[in-house]
């Protein structure tokens, strides 16, 4: 791949698997990753909603943060590690149970999102957290966390020596039951370590497609064999970045760098749930003054979902009110394969955010009808275990 070497892209431990399967490789987050396989985005998208899609998300930033000197008292050690990360984020980490995973945001001093991430309490090692951040921001995120840890804890990056896979879809649980049977008993947003072929898999029941599924950290050495083992199941097909994006958009989930950035607060991004109650009451997170005021109603914009008539409204398209006045901008937009319609996420002032509000979007200079609708556009099915027929 000439483009790959020319741009000095990193490859994941599964690069050869992608090219062998006919993946169309593109630069993404500094890595060469498949945007689609020969069957195409639409087919891959629908396969994930109906069966199980396998995604290589090794470009993301898995890591472990562990106390340098744990006391041996499990609760005290968890409190100590939580106290290191909590000043950077808006989530309640102290309150996590062993093995519990939480979606939260890394915030700047004005309450803008530096990243969105998963923070999980180790089920086995008190005083240790499993943290997964986004690809584009990972170096900065890790530096920020390391600085906060000072001499008290050590951050170990797991992105170079491992592959991170996501297995998503209604059949994912049945597939994982054959690979790591105990992992099929995980609840949504919990994780654990499971043996497989002489290695240890870190498996979380989580994902970003709206489907039930698992995210699996596997050593780089074992990753190709593990990938093959999953694909040996006829319910599993490899899925590229294109369908990954359309799936998360249908699920109404924000994408960092698009629907989230350093100016956007969790409240504006409609992620108020990620600002935990205990943290709100203590007002002890970055940007608390702004975010708490926004929760009281002092909000200038909020993320909404739009159904768009006609051509898809892409990122950057202006959102207009019914009379044609520009009121906001689309931050993610495209075609929803499950719905057969164009959908978008964007920001508008709260007075235009009620479900059912008739708005317009400007596509190539022409206004098209749009309507504010609840998100997710396609219902989340995180707990679904029954086989679809």
């Amino acid at each position: 791949m000439a483009e790959t070497s020319a741009e000095d892209l990193k490859t994941t431990p599964l690069f050869e698997r992608h090219t062998a399967a006919g993946g169309r490789m593109v630069p993404f987050g500094g890595y060469s990753l498949p945007v689609q396989y020969p069957s195409g985005i639409m087919t891959e998208h629908k396969w994930t909603r109906e069966q199980a899609g396998l995604f290589d998300v090794s470009h993301m930033g898995p890591s472990f943060l562990a106390l340098n000197n744990p006391s041996g008292d499990a609760e005290a050690d968890h409190a100590a590690i939580a106290a290191i990360i909590e000043p950077l984020i808006c989530g309640d980490i102290a309150g996590l149970k062993p093995g519990q995973v939480r979606y939260t945001l890394l915030l700047n001093e004005t309450g803008g999102a530096i990243d969105d991430l998963m923070v999980a309490r180790s089920p086995l090692h008190p005083g240790s957290l499993y943290i997964v951040v986004n690809a584009g921001t990972k170096d900065g995120d890790f530096a920020r966390i390391e600085a906060a840890a000072g001499g008290k804890a050590k951050l170990t990056r797991a992105d170079a020596d491992n592959a991170l896979l996501a297995l998503q879809g209604p059949e994912a649980v049945n597939v994982i039951a054959h690979i790591a049977p105990a992992a099929a008993d995980l609840g949504f947003m919990t994780y654990g370590a499971f043996p497989w072929n002489g290695t240890t898999l870190i498996i979380a029941r989580s994902g970003y497609t709206g489907e039930d599924g698992f995210e699996i950290l596997v050593s780089a050495d074992h990753a190709p064999a593990f990938w093959d083992a999953l694909l040996a199941d006829t319910r599993v097909k490899p899925i590229g970045l294109g369908a990954r994006d359309s799936l998360r958009l249908e699920a109404g989930l924000p994408l960092y760098g698009h629907d989230l950035n350093e100016t956007i607060s969790p409240t504006e991004a409609d992620l108020g749930f990620a600002v935990s109650k205990r943290r709100r009451e203590a007002a002890d997170f970055p940007g608390a003054a702004r975010i708490l005021a926004e929760r009281e109603g002092k909000l200038s914009r909020i993320r909404v979902g739009l159904i768009v008539e006609g051509a898809p409204a892409r990122e950057g398209a202006e959102i207009l009110d019914a009379s044609g006045v520009a009121i906001g901008v689309v931050t993610s937009g495209g075609f929803a394969p499950s719905l057969g319609k164009a959908i978008a996420l964007g920001f508008v002032p709260p007075e235009h955010a009620a479900h059912g509000t008739k708005l317009q979007v400007s596509v190539r200079g022409r206004p098209q009808a749009a309507e504010v609708v609840p998100t997710p556009f396609v219902p989340h099915r995180y707990f679904r275990k029954a086989k679809t027929s």
Binding site: M42, T43, G242, A311, G334, F335, P337, R364
Partner: protein
Amino acid sequence: MTTKFTPDHEYIRVEGSTGIVGITPYAQEALGDIVFVELPSVGKVLKKGDEAAVVESVKAASEIYAPVSGTVTEVNDALSGEPGLINSDPEAAGWIYKIAIADAGDLDGLLDAAAYADLTK
């Protein structure tokens, strides 16, 4: 009847003084699943190189330029309901619009099948 190509992957099949314009199999393959087509209006006067239509895949929008100057005489309305015709049959059922060719000389500047095949090798 002859078919000519642009380096932007449009084809124009010339039937008398009319050209039938679409995108090549190579282009539809590169774009992937096409989900929306913005057609020109009949009667629209295009200069060679003008944006004539927009083809949208799941991922992105791609402009389709006029390979020659002329007037749009007909559009493929079937694409409004079934844009995937461009994927399944780009050179026949997936045609996009017909144009009354203003200057047959425009065709001389386009690629023939062999030159286009070279370009996409």
